[in-house]
Amino acid sequence: MSGVRVLVGTRKGAFILTSDGKRDRWDVSGPHFGGWEIYHVAGSPADPARLYASQSSGWFGQVIQRSDDGGKTWQPVGNQFAYDGVPGTHQWYDGTPHPWEFARVWHLEGSLTDPDTVYAGVEDAALFRSIDGGQSWQELSGLRDHDSGSSWQPGAGGMCLHTIVQHPNDPGRIFVAISSAGVFRTDDGGKTWRPTNRGLHSVGIPDPAAEVGHCVHRLAMHPARPDVLFMQKHWDVMRSDDAGESWHEISGNLPSDFGFPIDVHAHEPDTIYVIPIKSDSEHYPPEGRLRVYRSRTGGHEWEALTAGLPQRDCYTNVLRDAMAVDSLDPCGVYFGTTGGQVYASADAGDNWAPIVRDLPAVLSVEVQLLP
């Protein structure tokens, strides 16, 4: 029977959770890299034994770790993220120009076809790529060189490139999302980029419908329908049916349209999941009730999924990279909280149970299907 491996990044290390296809009994390994912030652990879609981890620390900076055996052993690989050419400036919080400075890797995304090719989304916002298994990194600087680059501003969490979505069939097309600049798309493998934010409306920026400047929190795509994108924005849940050319709101009956993660069911392209959060200053579930909301209609109509989730006194958050789905049948859904719980549902969200309850604050959750 197939198994699953859940890769969890936390404020103080990484954890690897494994189970068979029933997904009711779990082995927990970790902490790996104890004491370090693990923003993301990602498996290669082309080789499940190949893992990459972003390990960082306020003291010692950025390290990238690679495993070739599914997380049993790790080796540090390249950690030099040098911006291409003269980096220039972006806008600082006070509106003044601020030099581009590398802080950390937020997100790693393996190539769909080559285990040695991996993308890194970094703060200050830029996209890097390695084609040698993480040993060396080159910036795809056409993104940051876009005319709007000098006007990008950090959000409260820093100016991070946090989402990388690859087209399943067209290797030239990649979407990225930056807080708080918005969504950008390349159709030539990363040489040139253009913003794809039409239809987004953000109160709190001078022109609510500006081409650039939106605080996009997360994007999701189903590989069977790559022109349909879903977005959790700072406020608003959005959908595009034309590969990002235009967006429309699908928040519908959600109790709050603020939140961080969004994901799509592995077998139902119109089934999507979000976790509403009360507001941008009160980063916890409305009414202290932790609810995943599922739409089976591609948005607008949402149902609360509560079975097994705390329905009182719950004031944790779920961060943007901390939800994932597996491709078993029924589809498994997973998310981690800033309170250190990792919840799993083996029935597409109908019922939930914690795999672990007391980890450090969870920054990211990924899941792999094992042969």
């Binding site: 004491g35 370090w36 620390s57 306020g58 003291w59 010692f60 900076g61 950025q62 390290v63 540090p76 950690n79 030099q80 040098a82």
Partner: protein
């Protein structure tokens, strides 16, 4: 040989236990010691000094002979006791943060 003591997280990263002994060619300075450290343990590149500027990371400190050498210029000779191996050169994670 130059004796170097790393903070716990960097010992783990470099897969070493306890003190490190380094051979340093020429004058013993902070730059020459850290250069030798990074040649022997390349996974430490970027964790003590910035890759590009070679400046000390903000929350890393350098101590030796009960002195804070963190603000000394990198090419100033280290104390004779460090150069002879009588005293270790300490790379320290600053007491900061959580």
């Amino acid at each position: 040989m130059i004796r170097v003591m790393l903070p716990a997280h960097l010992r783990t990263l470099a897969h070493v236990a306890g003190e490190i002994s380094l051979h340093v060619e020429g004058q013993v300075t902070q730059r020459s010691v850290l250069d030798a450290l990074e040649v022997r343990y390349p996974m430490l590149r970027g964790t003590v000094r910035d890759h590009a500027t070679q400046r000390r990371r903000a929350f890393v400190r350098f101590f030796a002979c009960e002195q804070d050498l963190s603000h000394d210029l990198p090419d100033v000779p280290l104390p004779q006791a460090v150069a002879t191996g009588a005293e270790p050169y300490l790379v320290v994670g600053a007491m900061a943060g959580g």
